[in-house]
Symmetry: C2
Subunit: 394 residues, 2 copies
């Protein structure tokens, strides 16, 4: 059943199939126009707020077949399919293997929504957006925001789309944090929740890596206390920050398999600093690629939100908090054996916290050597697991 969003766009019509490829368009929802700004967890006010999002499939008549996908730290709303203007060779959305007709999250059955997170730079309001008070980009004038604030803006979007109940919320990494935050904030409208490769709160190790990434950015003189939008980007610092992140998303074994000690375009050592090993070239490439697509200030704000995140006490509250119309939320917690950023023991802590408070929770640790980022790599086990979980409860 077609549904019109705030701008009068027919939601059903923006997703169509072309030779079994989903064609999708980025949409925008703007709210909290001054003087009705959003009050954030810190007490700061922010408005107007725009949330970029994409939808796939059709909202049913009961408006209860929606699944919200929360993306990870550097992700965006483009979860699957292609844009009409995509050139040949352009990659589809970041979870294309999971989301689409007949896939794990079946867009023939579900109305899928993926909002770009608050604080990002992929269409939603963030530090690179114009501050209406100054007419210039916010920079560090952007208020500090939390995972809770991200979820608040997503709830506003969900309401605006006319959705009454979410069949599911799902996401990996920082997306998994949003899933948990959804469950403690809005338990009465969620049927099932799938936090993947995530944690109830950052360990000292995870905070440490985020802090080093922030320091790398702030060490770049071009960062200029966050005011660089009219000049050169702090590309060197941002590249180093990304390299640090990238290593934490992989694993010792995966890096051994992918790179080992193989040399890049060389037969012997160069005895210089231009890089000898493939792993060095790979990291430099990842760093530079990120500079072209992401905003350094967004890294600062989103990593800080992840560091602040802590739902241990709130997940542990028993009873009606996690209930949805008399039914408990059904949780499926997924971890990866080689994830050392949010290791399985942290997923087990989540499972135990939920179980102790009488929640309905299933748990699966997937054996995979590719580290934290494993959920982004096509894997039939994950697709089947998630498909079965959502469909079994539909």
């Amino acid at each position: 059943m077609p549904h019109k969003d705030e701008k009068g766009i027919d939601v059903e019509s923006v997703t169509s199939r072309r030779q079994d490829v989903l064609i999708v368009e980025k949409q925008f929802h703007t709210f909290a126009e001054p003087p009705g700004e959003l009050v954030l967890e810190s007490g700061a006010k922010l408005g107007p707020v725009t949330i970029a999002y994409e939808t796939y499939g059709t909202l049913n008549a009961a408006k209860d077949n929606a699944i919200l996908i929360a993306h990870a730290f550097s992700g965006d709303s483009h979860v699957a399919g292609r844009y009409p203007a995509d050139r040949e060779g352009e990659k589809p959305g970041w979870w294309d293997f999971m989301v689409g007709p007949g896939k794990g999250i079946d867009t023939d059955k579900y109305f899928v929504i993926c909002p770009n997170i608050l604080g990002s730079c992929m269409g939603s309001t963030g530090p690179a957006s114009l501050n209406p008070a100054t007419g210039k980009p916010y920079g560090l004038g952007f208020p500090m925001m939390t995972i809770g604030d991200m979820v608040t803006t997503q709830k506003i979007l969900v309401d605006a789309l006319g959705i009454r109940r979410l069949h599911g919320v799902i996401g990996g990494s920082v997306g998994g944090m949003q899933v948990l935050e959804w469950c403690v904030r809005f338990p009465d409208i969620i049927r099932c929740a799938v936090p993947i490769a995530t944690t109830m709160r950052h360990s000292a190790l995870a905070i440490a890596f985020n802090e080093i990434a922030r320091q790398a950015i702030m060490a770049d003189p071009k960062w200029n206390k966050g005011e660089y939008y009219s000049g050169a980007k702090p590309g060197m610092g941002l590249a180093v920050a990304r390299m640090i992140g990238h290593v934490t998303y992989l694993s010792d074994k995966a890096m051994h398999r992918k790179f080992g000690r193989r040399l890049q375009d060389k037969e012997t050592f160069s005895f210089g600093f231009d890089g000898d090993f493939q792993v060095e070239s790979y990291l430099r490439h990842q760093g530079n690629k990120f500079v072209n697509r992401f905003d350094a200030n967004s890294v600062l704000y989103i990593t800080k939100a992840a560091d602040y995140f802590d739902v241990v006490d709130r997940m542990g509250r028993s009873g009606p908090l996690h209930e949805n119309g008399g039914q408990k939320i059904k949780y499926l917690v997924v971890s990866y054996s080689s994830d050392w950023l949010y290791p399985t023991y942290q997923a087990k802590e989540l499972v135990q916290t939920l179980k102790r408070s009488g929640q309905d929770v299933s748990f699966c640790e997937i054996e995979a050597d590719c580290g934290h980022d494993a959920f982004l790599i096509p894997d039939e086990r994950l697709t089947t697991l998630i498909g079965g979980f959502f469909d079994g409860l539909a």
Copy 2:
């Protein structure tokens, strides 16, 4: 028995006891004066070369009771005791709990030598030293050097000290690499070898962390392609590099125990970027402390030497290579259960390589949650293990 070094210094006299505290002085040995420069593994020439070193205890008449301690990446020759000019509260040498009268490496029995590594900035020739060809610091004009080159200069020092045979070579981390290199280069003068928390070659993960540290330094505009000795240091980049290193020396568990999510001088979140968590303050402190004592270019050269290091093939050669006067070198390989930079599986690869080639090797994995740096933390188990090993073979 006293022994005079190249400069006529009585070796015995530079170590004395003051209330059971070793008093030691830094010494220097200079060689390879042009035109007799040292030819490095890369083919480049370097000279003159100065190696700073310290000695403890007395060389015996047979000149065969010497133990060489190879320090780690950012260490120095000051392995134990105090300098005469030390102020109140000054810390003793970095392995003071291990080296001294009656300690694990007993200076009443052994003549202990600790040379500062080539390429460092703690007295030995490195990129901050004056290049005689230009009259200015080498900077990137310093030739790339290897772990093998470090050992070559140590052998020249050992010869100059009149030492005919080493009772032992011992070291952790990059020091352990030097131990292995000693064994494959000069097996005929070594009685026993103790590589601790080390590897036969860097994994892709270890190379990755080193490369990110180098990129952090080179991203600092003050680095200026290595020419900063007459101006401001690349302190921001160097601090970030150190923070990265520091995290790899710890472990998830140790960081949880030391810091957890405790806030620094705060009761609630600051909602700013000045740092909230103790682990953030700790890393910033470690970064800044390092900037005051270490040279950024030395980090580049030493990390690169560690990345190049690879003795897999050479350790695996069987037979006389590892023999010392008809007797095989006795190896004691030590690893730590929580070391994820050079994990136990890499120590086991070393043990298997040695065993397959018929070598005499003992192995001990020490259960400790403090990560790679565990060998620098006082631990009776390590002291007893090493004391027993050296004394049993004396």
